[in-house]
Amino acid sequence: MSNNKAVIMNLLPLIPMFPLIGMIINGLIGKFLPKKLVHLIAITALLASFTTSVIVVSKLVGLPEDSRSVSIEIFKWINVGSFGVSFSFTLDQLSSIMLLVVTGIGGLIHVYSVGYMNGDKSYSRFFTYLNLFIFAMLLLVLGSNMLIMFIGWEGVGLASYLLIGFWFEDSANAAAGMKAFIVNRIGDFGFLIGMFILILTIGNLDFNSIKIAVDSGIITGTVATVATMLFFVGAMGKSAQIPLYVWLPDAMAGPTPVSALIHAATMVTAGVYMVVRLNFLFILAPATMTVIALIGAFTAFFAASIALVQNDIKKVLAYSTVSQLGYMFLGVGVGAFGGGILHLVTHAFFKATLFLGAGSVIIGMHHNQDMRNMGGLKKRMPITHWTMLIATIAITGVLPFSGFISKDEIIWRAFASHNTIIPWINYVLWGLGALAAMMTSFYMWRLYYLTFQSGETRLKDHHVVEHIKESPKSMTFALVVLSFFAIVIGWIGLPHLFYHGKGIFNSFHRWLEPLVSESEAKIHVVHNTGLEWTLMIVVSVLVYISFFWARKWYRKEISVNTKIWAEALKPIHTLLYNKYFVDELYYWLIDKLILQFSHKVLWKTIDYIFIDNIIINGLVAGGSKTLGFLVGLFQTGKLQFYAFVMVAAFFFIFYFMTL
């Protein structure tokens, strides 16, 4: 028993160490190493991390249920007066799940990148950044206090920025990186203020101390509401929720493995992870929970509607990711913390498959991303086709694929959880969730049919068309493994309807129970098996309807019918196609309103004339410089004058001290 604990404590610090070492080696001398060695180093680092993770998690399983939380202090970091932070890691039920997801999917995507980035001139730089990302993500996941988590939080943000702008020669890519960075700063600001509030209240940032403070009532509802609202602002930025989601679609400028790893599977789910990690704090703030659920549901709905009409294959997937993240927040917002994490896990697998499949398609199409040019790739890229098909079924929510299981739980809980602030809100949440599920089915099948079916490739350039072929083994390997998990990973958390009274149990929820059951118990959930079956069937029917709809429209060549419909719905189409003009709205707000105001009033008048010229340059700088000049006059360069000043000062002090 204690042996297990000792093994965990010994191995845990190694897990983030491996990618760190990989990053340092590739970062310092990667440029001079042969490509094979570069990716070998990076992949070995991830493989070592993954193996170690599997070992520690299996040891964690071996521990008794109530003591599955092992912390280890690496070193004491800051110790100033009453405020102390130690650099320590915690392995518990939640972080072990994230650990496996991050290192497992991360490892596969590293393998995939070998094929995808083959021939790129900054090969070692790419793997350096990827390892940096994994290192930061592991800090985020393993940190046992909010500061370590925040370092990881900022670290993944940095890695994301670097990778979005990886091909920075194109200024649009660099601008996309910048946009992600700036939008995330807004969120981080909230996160920071939230941390300051916690420090002020309990003088500590340890998750355990926060839990203790919550239990003992030091943190009141008001403090919890303010702090959690601020944390959620941070989560909005990182996890791309309304209104801070605008950076994620642009982030697709980065290489596709990056989109799969960072902007679908791991980093963007950090917000969900943070909410679940602090579930005991969030549950104290029903207002925040309601806001989270609402924003999640709206994000799921709006992003899905935008995805309906996008033509860029990665853009569709990007909005799909935003929409699925919305589901996760909807889940945690209604108190289904386990459901949120389950969806996080299943989403990580099927969305990674989809992105990697899209990457494979993009490579096959010679970097053409417009779906209108694709079609008929089924024959040319069979493995990509089959894996994408599996992932599409999974995301749309068809039994028994993983997406169904996790999504069904969230949608049911959205309906069944009682909200104390707005009692009828569960109908709205359910409605948005169900409609979003329907739209998900539509846009995913649209993507599938446009890309792989619908006749022959519509690309005009015959020279390229002839060369479309399946991607190299390193890429298809990752696809196959991920798609396998996209089918089965959901089975760890089957809905209780399926096993009720049959002696099977939901291993996933049993696993997370010690962490979240206390909080989940505080939410009143309706238990009505008949209603649950009914709603499950209703959502499924909606999903099938959109499947057939999409199939009818896009299976063959784009039909005349489709065009008539598109004509009829032109205003809506335009609205959706332009993403509700949100970017334009933000642009107008920032550029016209805020910038003009800042420029004309704040800068030109207040800052430039008043503060800069009158106060700073006039009074402060002028005054201090003049004073400095006058004092400097004593520095005549004459030795004996210096001696005289010293002797005079001596007598002066002598006078003061003795008389």
């Binding site: 000049f629 400097g632 006059l633 520095q635 005549t636 360069g637 004459k638 030795l639 004996q640 001696a643 005289f644 002797v647």
Partner: protein, 102 residues
């Protein structure tokens, strides 16, 4: 016997003569001599304290030798610097050395 206070007075007067010399004389050689005067004034006081107040041991006398030795070392370094200055500037007047100031 001459009283201790007289020795102290002599020491103080010599010390300030030396200090004044540093302050007003221009020639570096004279300034260095003034510094020697200050150190010797200190020596006089040291020996006088020992003889009048702490006759039981010879600590003060011993210390005065330390000071003499250190003063000699100081003088040698000072003269070396002075020679270097003279070779370069052809002057030993301290008021000519003011190329650096604010």
């Amino acid at each position: 016997m001459v009283s201790l206070n007289l020795f102290i007075a002599l020491g103080i007067v010599l010390f300030f003569i030396g200090l004044l010399g540093v302050l007003i004389r221009r020639n570096i050689i004279i300034i260095m001599i003034s510094i020697e005067i200050m150190l010797n004034a200190i020596n006089i006081m040291l020996v006088a304290f020992n003889r009048y107040k702490f006759i039981e041991n010879n600590d003060g006398l011993t210390y005065s030798f330390f000071i003499i030795a250190v003063a000699a070392a100081e003088a040698s370094v000072g003269l070396a610097i002075l020679i270097a200055v003279y070779r370069k500037r052809k002057t030993v007047f301290v008021n000519k050395l003011n190329t650096m100031s604010n």
